[in-house]
Each structure stands twice: as C-alpha cells, then as structure tokens.
Amino acid sequence: MVTVSKYFENVWKSMYSTCVGMRITWRYLLQKPITVQYPDERMPIPNRYRGIHYLEQEKCINCLACARACPIDCIEMDAVRHGKELEWISFTLDYQKCMFCELCVYPCPKDCIHMGTEFAFVSEDRSEFVHDLLSYKGMSRDARTRMIEADKKKAEKAAAKAAKAAEKAAEDAKGGDAN
C-alpha cells in the first residue's frame, strides 16, 4: 500500500513541481529583459571611471611628473621651450602597456591629466595603441601671440635699455666735454 501511495504521490509531485516551475519561467518571460543593447544604448558610467586619458594641454607645463610616476613607463612627452611658452611635439601614452592605475593623475602639479569615461579603443594595428593625447601640435595661437608680445616687450625693454645707456653715454660725453 505504501508503494502505491508513493506512486501517486510521485505523479502528483512531478505535475505540481512542473506547474510551479512553468509559472516561474512564465513570469520571467513577461518581465522586461535587463540586457543593455550596447552599441545603441550604454550603461551609465561612473564619474571616477578610469578610462582613456585626456589632457588639458593649455595647462600642461611639460614637467614630466606623470611620466616619472608611471610604474610601467608608458607616458612619453616632448616639447620645446620658448621662454614661458611650450612648442609641443608629442605627448604619447602606450595603451598596450597602460594598466589604468591612475598614478599619473595624482602627481600632476597643474592638475591637467585626467582619466576619462571612454573605454572602447579598437585598432587594427598595434602601433595605433600608442595614443597621442595632444589636441594640437606646436604652439597654440594664444601662446604664439603671448610669445610674440613677450618678445616685443623684451625687445622694447632692450631698446629702452640701449637708449638709456646711449643717453647716459652721451651725457657722460657731454659732461666730459664740459669738464
């Protein structure tokens, strides 16, 4: 008798548990999918996400603090100094090496290198992973005008100085004559 009741219990249990399971899957079927359709829509990225770097080139003073802080030496920069102004040649970051540790960001005295929220970086060639952060090469127009103005001022100063010296010399000569 036990085995017979067990038999019907098994039948009942299997039917019941199947119905319960199918109810659950039906609920999931009607639920909105949680997938984010990536290229069309994106997950919100937190502000402190460590993605591809970006550089505020106007502020940068080519002090090499970030390059020195980098534990794997992936930052390289090169610039020519004209007085106070910089003529940029390159500022590269090798993303084959970079491990996005953010250690380059903290030592910057001008707070000009940051990590952005962009993470997709695809290339067909390895060399393209050596990414140039510069937004312009050479000097900016402002820097150039500033430099020209500074040069002019310098020249004026020098001219004024020369004129003064010449005056003084002339005066000296006059005085000498008077004496």
Binding site: N10, T18, G21, M22, T25, Y28, L29, P33, T35
Partner: protein, 407 residues
C-alpha cells in the same frame, strides 16, 4: 486489420484513382471504394493543373507528376520555413525567459537571423570524419529528413488543400516519424565517435520506451472520434464558436491523455527534458557531434518539422483541428459563409495551434532540467505506459456507457 488495408494508404499518396482500379479482392475493393470517396477532393494542385491549357504533346502522366512535384516542393518549403521560424522562436523564447532579448541585430528583432544562420551553414565545410562509414554517414541526414517529409505529406494545410488525405493518416504519421530513429542510429554509428554512439543508443532506448505511451494515449481520441483521418477528425469537431466541438471536451479522459501524449511527444522529438540523445553538456551533442554544415542543419530541420508535426497532430486529435472562432465565422451556415476565407482561416488556425504547441515545448524546455537516463526509462515504462492504459480503459468505458445510456 489486414495487411492490404495498411498498405493502401501508402499507395494512395501517389494517385488514388490509379490504384483503385487495380484492387482485386472484394474486401480491398470495398475499402478502396470507401477511400476513393474520402479522397475525391485529393490534390487540388492536380485539379488546378487540369484547368490550365495544356498542349497536346504533353503526355497524360506528366500532369499528376507535376502535381506531385509541386506538392513535394511545398512540403520542403514548409519544412525549411518551419525550421527557420522555429529556431527564431526558440532563441527569442529562451532569451526572454532568461531576461535577455535573444537575436536583435539582423532584421526586426533578429527576424532574419535564421537566414544568416542558414547561409553560414551552407557555406561551412562539409566534414566527414576519417574512419567513419561514409555511405551511412551521408545517408543518415537524408533518411531522417525524408521520413519527416513523408509524414508531413499527410498533414492537410486546409480542409480543401492537402496532398494526400490518407484514411489512415495518423497511422502513417506515427509509422514514418518513428523511422527517424533509424537515421539517428545510423548517424551515431557511422560517425565513429563514442559520443555519437552513446547518443544513438540513448535515442533508441528512449524511442522504444516512449513509442508505447505515445500510441496508447492517442488511442483515447481515436476511441472518441472513431477515425484515423486528419481531415475527418477535424470535420467532426466543428461546434459552437468553433470551440464547443473539440474532442477534449467530449470525454473526461481526454485531458490526461493530452498531457501523456505531450510528454511522450517531448521524448519522441528529443526535446528537453528528454534531450539525452543530443545533450550538449554531457555527450557533446550526441549523434550530432561529427556533423557540420548543411548535414547538421538537416537534422535540425527534421527536429523542428517533427515537433511541428506532433503539435499539429495534437491540435487535430485533441484541440479541434481546423476549428476555431475564426473558421466558425466563415464556415457553411456561419455568419459569413465563404469557402476561400474559410480555408485561409483554417490554415492560419492550424499554424497558430501548431506554434502554440511549439511554444509550450520551448517553455517546458527552459523550465525543466535534463533527466537522467534511468529517470527517463522509469517515467516511460512505470508511469506513462500504465497511466495511458488506464486512460484508454476509462475512455472506452465512458464511450460505451454513453452509447448504452443515450442510445
């Protein structure tokens, strides 16, 4: 039931009129006359071709042959389109049950994904492993697909449009679909891989176990309806709103029989939770392990076609066949009697019913985990077979009692 009556339906597939004249014994002649009456509307394509202007040089046998070819082309088209729709539905349903979308990129909600998959499968290298039995390996997918194509020929697409209205249609379907097992065993053996042999052996064991409850549970609607013919059984079920006459409401043992039949169908068509022959995770896809490209897709087409066919059989013998509120509207004596609309509605009804069945199969697949082989055997032999026998007994007693009481 003599052998000659069993052999007749098969011959009727080609041309009923041809065979009827050849019948010799009076018994067969009688049966043939009955069948001739039933199959008078057979092959609408043939009749349409007869109406077309045909030049004199075309021999007489060309017309039925053309009709058969067109029928074969339609069935092939149905099989491949059904496989495409089935894979798409399968991926969408499985995706949504898992809170994903499924394919989304190709076409509207990935609707063209099966097309892309089909092109990929056709362009794939056709591998035949070293040490395999080449002849059997090449033959197996063809055999598997051919059996299901043959079975689909009996399926009427609408009350007036069918290729072969065999009076023993259900019998033919059961016989032909179970021959796919031979193809699967051939594939497993010819692949020269232990996984394939395991899969094939499991398939054989499973089919032997589940063919029994499948047939027995179908006896219940057969007792109630009293016919094997698919068109006849669907004619029988017309009723109030196209729902009232469904066989499932005619006998209390129909509902358990439907559930038993559905479980047996899941096992027969190798669907989860009975997908042991091709279990991906344990047997590396079983008998499909060594197949690739178009041959693999033949097995896939067979699987979906068999699923669809079984669902259609379920619809015919349990859930009203062509009858739905839509066909009720257009049928003779309905609100808007119109033969063409009625046929179109019937076609849509049967397709929708078939796909609802497919959907339930997918739903079950993503609900239940795969059973162990001994559990599968236990379920087949110890549970489904005796319960289906009880159902047949009960249905028989019910029908007998109804006849005795109501006259």
């Amino acid at each position: 039931m003599s052998l000659s009556t069993l052999a007749l339906p098969l011959s009727l597939l080609t041309d009923p009129a041809l065979k009827l004249a050849e019948s010799e014994t009076p018994e067969v002649a009688e049966a043939a006359a009955e069948m001739g009456e039933l199959t008078s509307g057979t092959n609408l394509i043939n009749e349409l071709l007869m109406l077309a202007p045909i030049p004199d040089f075309v021999p007489g046998w060309a017309i039925p042959l053309t009709a058969i070819m067109i029928g074969v082309a339609i069935v092939m088209g149905v099989v491949s389109l059904n496989a495409m729709a089935g894979t798409w539905l399968e991926r969408k349903v499985s995706g949504h049950i898992q809170c994903r979308y499924g394919p989304m990129r190709a076409g509207w909600h990935g609707f063209l994904q099966p097309l892309a998959d089909g092109i990929k499968l056709m362009l794939k290298e056709d591998m035949i492993p070293i040490g395999s039995d080449r002849v059997l390996f090449v033959m197996a997918p063809a055999l598997v697909l051919a059996s299901v194509l043959g079975a689909l020929a009996v399926m009427p697409l609408s009350p007036d449009f069918f290729f072969a209205d065999a009076p023993m249609g259900l019998f033919l379907i059961l016989a032909l679909t179970s021959t796919t097992t031979i193809g699967v065993i051939m594939a497993g053996w010819a692949s020269n891989s232990k996984w394939s042999v395991y899969g094939a052996m499991r398939e054989a064991a499973q089919v032997v176990a589940y063919e029994v409850p499948l047939g027995i549970s179908l006896l219940v609607p057969l007792i109630v309806a009293g016919t094997f013919s698919l068109t006849e059984v669907s004619e029988m079920q017309s009723g109030m709103f196209g729902i009232g006459g469904w066989l499932i409401f005619k006998n209390p043992f129909m509902f358990p029989a439907l559930i038993l039949f559905f479980i047996a169908v899941l096992a027969e068509s190798k669907r989860a939770p009975f997908d042991l022959p091709e279990s991906e995770s344990e047997l590396v896809s079983g008998f499909l392990t060594e197949y690739s490209g178009i041959r693999w897709s033949f097995f896939f087409m067979e699987e979906y076609a068999a699923m669809f066919l079984y669902c259609v059989v379920t619809a015919f013998f349990f859930l009203g066949g062509f009858n739905s509120p839509l066909t009720w509207l257009f049928e003779d004596g309905g609100l808007l009697p119109n033969v063409i609309l009625w046929n179109v509605a019937a076609f849509f009804t049967i397709v929708v019913k078939g796909y609802i069945g497919l959907f339930v199969m997918m739903w079950v697949r993503w609900t239940l985990p795969r059973l162990r082989i001994d559990q599968v055997m236990t379920m087949g032999y110890k549970y489904l077979t005796p319960i289906s026998l009880v159902c047949v007994l009960g249905a028989g007693i019910w029908e007998w009692g109804k006849a005795a009481l109501l006259g």
